[in-house]
Symmetry: D2
Amino acid sequence: MVIIMNTEATQQNINDVIEVIKGVGLEAKIMEGAQQKIVGVIGDKTKLASVPIDAMPGVEHSVAISKSYKLASREFHPQSSVINVSGILIGGDEPIVMAGPCAVESREQLLQSAEIIKAGGAQFLRGGAYKPRTSPYSFQGLEEEGLKYLAEAREKTGLKIVTEVTTVEAIEKVAKYADMLQIGARNMQNFGLLKEVGKCGKPVLLKRGLAATLDEWLNAAEYIMNEGNPNVVFCERGIRTYETYTRNTLDMSAIAAIKHLSHLPIIVDPSHGTGKWRMVKPMALAAIAAGADGLMMEVHPNPAKALSDGSQSLTPEHYQDVMNAVKKLSKFIKEENLLSEIEE
Amino acid sequence: MVIIMNTEATQQNINDVIEVIKGVGLEAKIMEGAQQKIVGVIGDKTKLASVPIDAMPGVEHSVAISKSYKLASREFHPQSSVINVSGILIGGDEPIVMAGPCAVESREQLLQSAEIIKAGGAQFLRGGAYKPRTSPYSFQGLEEEGLKYLAEAREKTGLKIVTEVTTVEAIEKVAKYADMLQIGARNMQNFGLLKEVGKCGKPVLLKRGLAATLDEWLNAAEYIMNEGNPNVVFCERGIRTYETYTRNTLDMSAIAAIKHLSHLPIIVDPSHGTGKWRMVKPMALAAIAAGADGLMMEVHPNPAKALSDGSQSLTPEHYQDVMNAVKKLSKFIKEENLLSEIEE
Amino acid sequence: MVIIMNTEATQQNINDVIEVIKGVGLEAKIMEGAQQKIVGVIGDKTKLASVPIDAMPGVEHSVAISKSYKLASREFHPQSSVINVSGILIGGDEPIVMAGPCAVESREQLLQSAEIIKAGGAQFLRGGAYKPRTSPYSFQGLEEEGLKYLAEAREKTGLKIVTEVTTVEAIEKVAKYADMLQIGARNMQNFGLLKEVGKCGKPVLLKRGLAATLDEWLNAAEYIMNEGNPNVVFCERGIRTYETYTRNTLDMSAIAAIKHLSHLPIIVDPSHGTGKWRMVKPMALAAIAAGADGLMMEVHPNPAKALSDGSQSLTPEHYQDVMNAVKKLSKFIKEENLLSEIEE
Amino acid sequence: MVIIMNTEATQQNINDVIEVIKGVGLEAKIMEGAQQKIVGVIGDKTKLASVPIDAMPGVEHSVAISKSYKLASREFHPQSSVINVSGILIGGDEPIVMAGPCAVESREQLLQSAEIIKAGGAQFLRGGAYKPRTSPYSFQGLEEEGLKYLAEAREKTGLKIVTEVTTVEAIEKVAKYADMLQIGARNMQNFGLLKEVGKCGKPVLLKRGLAATLDEWLNAAEYIMNEGNPNVVFCERGIRTYETYTRNTLDMSAIAAIKHLSHLPIIVDPSHGTGKWRMVKPMALAAIAAGADGLMMEVHPNPAKALSDGSQSLTPEHYQDVMNAVKKLSKFIKEENLLSEIEE
């Protein structure tokens, strides 16, 4: 942390700041310029998390320098992590695809979806049994009944199950049926929920919050990992911007950023990220080319009859087309080693 | 809802759309232009919440026209609501002030704060016992111990208590000690929590989400009200934008917008809204001048030693100064009837 | 500037950074922590503007500490400036109001507007003769003809004229007729235009860019002042955010921020800031209560027939009502000294 | 356009709205619901550009349905355009790469850069002679001297020249030396400049504004095309969001959006889009995989000595590495026809 004193700061002000820093066991260094003095802080930043330096007399503002997360950080864990979910490796040699309807609507719809997903070559079936919806009058999900259909679909197809958990009370139930728990965008900073999925131990798919910074996202992972659960996979699903043509703005650069800042895998959801099924194919290919460890896509046997998010769902035919292209592309990129970094 | 067909839509496409609309019991009307056809939908929009019109062949996109919330809407409840919290009226004749430290840190700090708050003339003591923090290593709150100090402060000063509840499990405990439950920005779309505070019945202070639209905010209130709890007060606390000088961008126009769209009261939090204590006074006065029903402000006996958000906390002297100015201003505005609307 | 080295930086990397800093005549100081080294730079930051420290081997990133503008900065000019525009003082004892139609549409419309504006008590008549419009097919303004009507209105009413200049070629013409030149939001970083209005010497009303940071805005003023023109007045007119209910999000905190960072006056435009005439009154009062030096408002003799921005224009009756309230409020705030700051 | 009347609208209000619509030669259709009436407008929307329907009594708000641009629209020009720039085809069979330093700094630096760019296989040399900079104290470019070096580099290497023009006065000069004129992000709505580059006739590279919507961007192209210049190429260079880790947020979905909405080509600038050279390779590959018609990249013989934007510039070695990967990837995508759309 670097503390910038304002131009009217007195020597007493500076001494007070130094005393506070020393008080938490850290070291302070002063730099004096013609018009401004700066105090540098050396040591473990977490000790400073609760000290309101900015409010002290003579302080203009302070700038954080080190990161507040550790377990999720590549700095402390240089090698990339591979997350094993019921035998499927995420972050390994090939991209993993999670596909399925936005919501589990009925046994028939889900089993039909599962056959389509399996045939297309994805490894995971997705589908919400608990749906967070903006309006209380929208379809809220089939809850445990939906979970049972998911488990039945796994039995029939061998697909792994990833599904969202929205409340602490539901964790146990969801964990019983699913292979991987999804934390949705609206719950990325529901810290009580993060801690409990951390304790539960099941692998977690952590979607980026609607307007979350990378730093907040990494700290959300830290909440889960700090409870003893290292099996976290990030999922970029678009952020909120001023642009209204797309449902969200898919932040493709988050792939490269997360790979630089963290050792954990990251997948991309072009369905929620754009809100338009026509954009799913080009964005899926872009994600793979940028180095994503996988994809999450919405597929519906009959999008025009979907109970939620139909406009972003692929038909079975389009899904198959995207899968074919994704497989070819990722194979080529791997063989040609296109994403390798050259020596600096 | 209005559905815009694309230029290549066939008559069959249009017929299919109309059939779907009629299928949920609504009426459809077609408008034909030279290049484009439009289908208008008449009736209760909630019936359409689960119909993915946008995914149907020939549809370019659709535009929502009516609102998805009702209980919170002024359209269905033209008269402004006054919320009674343990005898204090929010939305009534004078602005209500909620003040206190960001977090309850100790018995001494809280009781000292309460004396200051009481002396300044606020009606509510605020202070977090459960703190949602970006990093798991930051101070997380004193939990039930903090609630007890709050209750003790109420006994000593007569101030009402408003404090945040972050998990469903904690609702019962918080409701036992507090007069009003606060839903924080990060939980504005924690729908499970919203439903449970709705069932609990205690008055709720609903902070705007970090990047929530007015529509999402109003729908969040609808979740609470739909469970039978009509006692909701909005709190504008700044939204996330590209500007980094302030912690958030305080959306002052939300006061006028909420007053137009809803019958519920709205207060403003200039401390979180700006992140800088120097800005609290001008923004507090602005909020009152714009018609806010009250304020929430952070005050700390010694901001430079606060365990969280010290840089935005007022000292006791500044708090007293803001209160004096706010009282004079609101009295003047009321006497002069400055905010009255003239006949159109 | 503070330079944060990454954890793998070698001593050679650090030496190279120090050499570059010394090379432009600045001083470097090193702080060594357990895991990280930081290099502080002392001296005039403008010397570093062209040095890409961030690209040097071993550098994680750098953080700017001092500001890049000087002439606009309060740090170098502690006393507030009062700008004299043809005898009207902006930043002085009373708020200045600039009102009128969005665009000059006809001689009749403008002269009628001017009478209304004069009667209401504003000091300036506004009205665009050159209109920047998103679509090339929208009304683009009457150009010089419009300027002549503005000058005629001034002669008849004594109101001062403020009007937008959008191209370097038009500066001379606009300066011939107007008392103050307006730089619109879309041109805030049209640096060629800024330099030329700087040379021209006429007082300038500098609107904030659609998505400009405070720092960029202050630097835009610096461009004008650096050409020898100190007569710059800021105008906050709303920024672009994700919220779509209002046309822009009026950043009321910019008033307090600009007053802290700069000695120049700032006024507020609640018409463009909200896009809704109903919101103009509460936002105008809020701006005055927050300490704004004035207001810019759209008024039209018949908003429903305006050729642009009719939905945000006040009728003559509403304008008169806003003016009455604004005058009472500003008089009261001044008399009671409500915005004074107490000793720290 | 669809006009939504509020719940208190009278029959007279509706009649007035209809009269206004008919007054500009358009047709109106009414839809009556239980609580709300809607008026649909049929015909050419440009006739309505200057009618402030939203300000009329009884109107809640209006919703635009058709687009305000035509020449740039795919609707009116279904076949993709290929832009010929001095013999190089943009939008044709292979992606076009424009590379070079951010700014022309010296003859030596530029000629050295040109050799590197040529050797790597790009078709265009980029480099700014006129630099728009936030601070007036930053390096502003070599102006005509820089243009001469660019022309000399073309002679030596055969590379085509693309360079930014920032003022109307400079157009003639820049057009004399360059093959393609670049409109930078800050000037995307400098309408005077757009019109003049439209008249000038040279091909134009139109960068997206800092916070421009797709609609505004397409309308900016319309300004150029409306003056008779059909040779416009879009360049996505990142938009401003709340995220600060990257310099901008590269909106990869803009590629698919522009291809759907317009017939014009689009290229991507991952250097400005991310602000970090490490992200250029993955984002370049992503852009190609998403269907971009080309790339713009910053390359500097010695990034650590660049006078601007060094931290986002590739070294010659990294540039060569990116080019190799891009060429392999685009060849593979074309051969395998990966981006083809299946029949619906």
